[in-house]
């Protein structure tokens, strides 16, 4: 298994380590519920060094990315990012990702760890057939970056303890507190440049910090020290999953895959049909107009029962001979104390308040469709 630069830090903290897509990563340090609640109530720190990074440069970069991705990169000025999806010709998702405009015709993409190889192969094949490939430079930058995510209501207070000065590149701001959601800027850490974005995957306010391995190790330690009096805890993949499920953020391989479109997944706002031609456009346009045969819903169990988990069957209450859908993500919500999840159902059952049943170990338990996100800060 691969290890990030923070592996020794995880071992030192007593983390339980698991294999996540070929990476030896911490699933928890103390308990998933404690780590989850720390993020909701104070702050949590995650190692996200396993994610992939790609840089795209050149006079044709904007045109190429607008053909490759569903969202409109022309909206991105220097130091601004957007959530986007990369689809193949049939509209199925190759990956979901974040893309940031840097300075000039230069972009920085953050892609899923489990899809780094597949994404690069896809992007390189598209670049090779691109008419303006002479004005395009695509580069796998994953080995250049380690990264951490600081998430929770106290994250700005903690970040400010370690980053006091103005930004030095991308979006020009006087201090980290001036970063708006989706902004990305270069800041200085002990004379070395790191990038900080106001982004995250937990449903809380937070920041993601990208830099060279040695800097990230120092930043990890500094943040934990500065944040301890404010309740900051190191958090593993277990809490990352319960947090993003409560926030209804998709996870590639669960809500998204090559046989699922962004429209089925309810991500139509990230598909800019009016920007012109892009890979998968015709299928996605037809779906936006004519509908899809299934829709992603969020649900909550309505009584105390076993935990709903991925792959479990979803039924309509009654005597149908077979289930009508499948759970894609499911867990016991630490914030709500109930089972929650997401799954695909026929569109007529996708309205909030629709009653469903989830089959768990041969028995069916009642659930109800809820609006996303399942958990919202009061």
């Amino acid at each position: 298994m691969k290890r990030t630069i923070l592996y020794n830090s995880h071992v030192k903290l007593g983390a339980k380590l698991i294999d996540f897509g070929g990476w030896e990563m911490p699933v928890q340090y103390t308990s998933i519920s404690d780590e989850h609640l720390a993020v909701r109530n104070a702050a949590g720190l995650f190692d996200i060094s396993h994610m992939g990074e790609v840089t795209v440069n050149g006079a044709a970069a904007t045109e190429f990315l607008n053909h490759l991705l569903t969202n409109d990169v022309r909206k991105l000025s220097a130091g601004v990012g957007q959530y986007s999806l990369m689809c193949h010709e049939r509209g199925g998702v190759v990956d979901d990702l974040y893309v940031f405009g840097l300075t000039g015709d230069s972009y920085f993409m953050v892609i899923n760890a489990s899809r780094t190889e597949a994404d690069l192969a896809w992007m390189e094949a598209r670049a090779a057939e691109f008419s303006r490939k002479i004005d395009l430079r695509l580069s796998d930058a994953s080995h250049n970056y380690a990264a951490v995510a600081l998430q929770g209501p106290r994250s700005l207070d903690i970040l400010t303890q370690c980053f006091a000065g103005p930004s030095t590149s991308c979006k020009r701001v006087g201090k980290v507190a001036d970063l708006k959601k989706n902004d990305l800027s270069g800041f200085t850490w002990r004379s070395v440049r790191v990038m900080i974005s106001r982004t995250g995957y937990t449903g809380e306010d937070g920041y993601e910090i990208y830099g060279r391995a040695e800097s990230i190790v120092e930043i990890w330690e500094a943040l934990l020290t500065a944040g301890a009096p404010m309740g900051l805890k190191p958090c593993g993949l277990g809490a990352r999953d319960t947090l993003r499920t409560e926030a209804c953020y998709p996870l590639y391989g669960h809500e998204l895959d090559e046989n699922t479109t962004p429209i089925e997944a309810g991500l139509g706002i990230f598909v800019a049909l009016d920007k012109g031609e892009f890979c998968g456009r015709s299928v996605l346009a037809a779906q936006k107009d004519g509908g899809t045969s299934r829709k992603l819903v969020a649900f909550k169990m309505t009584e105390k029962c076993p935990v709903p988990r991925p792959e479990f069957a979803i039924w309509r209450p009654g005597s149908d001979p077979s289930p009508i859908g499948r759970v894609t993500s499911g867990t016991q919500s630490p914030s709500l104390g109930m089972g929650i999840g997401m799954g695909y159902v026929p569109p007529e059952l996708a309205k909030a308040d629709t009653r469903l049943e989830i089959e768990i170990r041969g028995k069916r338990y009642p659930a109800v469709v809820v609006r996303k996100p399942i958990y919202r800060r009061a």
């Binding site: 699933v27 928890q28 103390t30 308990s31 998933i32 519920s33 404690d34 277990g238 319960t242 105390k304 029962c305 076993p306 935990v307 988990r309 867990t331 016991q332 630490p334 170990r361």
Partner: protein, 129 residues
């Protein structure tokens, strides 16, 4: 970590403990098991009067990440189940040998207990000694 392994109990290889009093066995999961599972969020116990066999999967304990089967250490009829741990599954983490017990069975063949592990033997198994 040094798990708590009370000397007067008997143990299974699958991390259940047994307390025997006059032909009735009380069963729960060990401190080692709860420590491995961490946050226990749901406990499913066998129906009353169900006839269990030694080694039969008869209950489920769920943490946030996984569902684990609990195996009956001996054969017998389910006499009682612990409502407190069903209502508050975290008891299995905080009091695995006391308030977090799971169920009681009327032993059909008390001699089966002889093949269970002693505290010393169970400790050796979990510490790999």
């Amino acid at each position: 970590m040094s798990a708590n392994v009370p000397a007067e109990l008997k143990y299974t290889r699958s991390h259940e403990w047994v307390r025997v009093e006059g032909g009735v066995a009380t069963v729960g999961i060990t401190d080692h098991a709860q420590h491995e599972l961490t946050d226990i969020v749901f406990v499913e116990l066998p129906q009353l009067k169900r006839q269990l066999k030694a080694g039969e999967a008869c209950a489920v304990v769920e943490s946030v990440k996984t569902a684990s089967d609990i195996y009956s250490p001996a054969g017998g009829e389910v006499l009682e189940t612990n409502k407190a741990v069903v209502d508050n599954p975290a008891l299995a983490n905080t009091e695995p040998y006391a308030g977090g017990w799971f169920f009681k069975i009327k032993l059909s063949n008390p001699a089966e207990l002889d093949s269970l592990l002693s505290a010393v033997q169970y400790t050796a198994q979990v510490t790999g000694a």
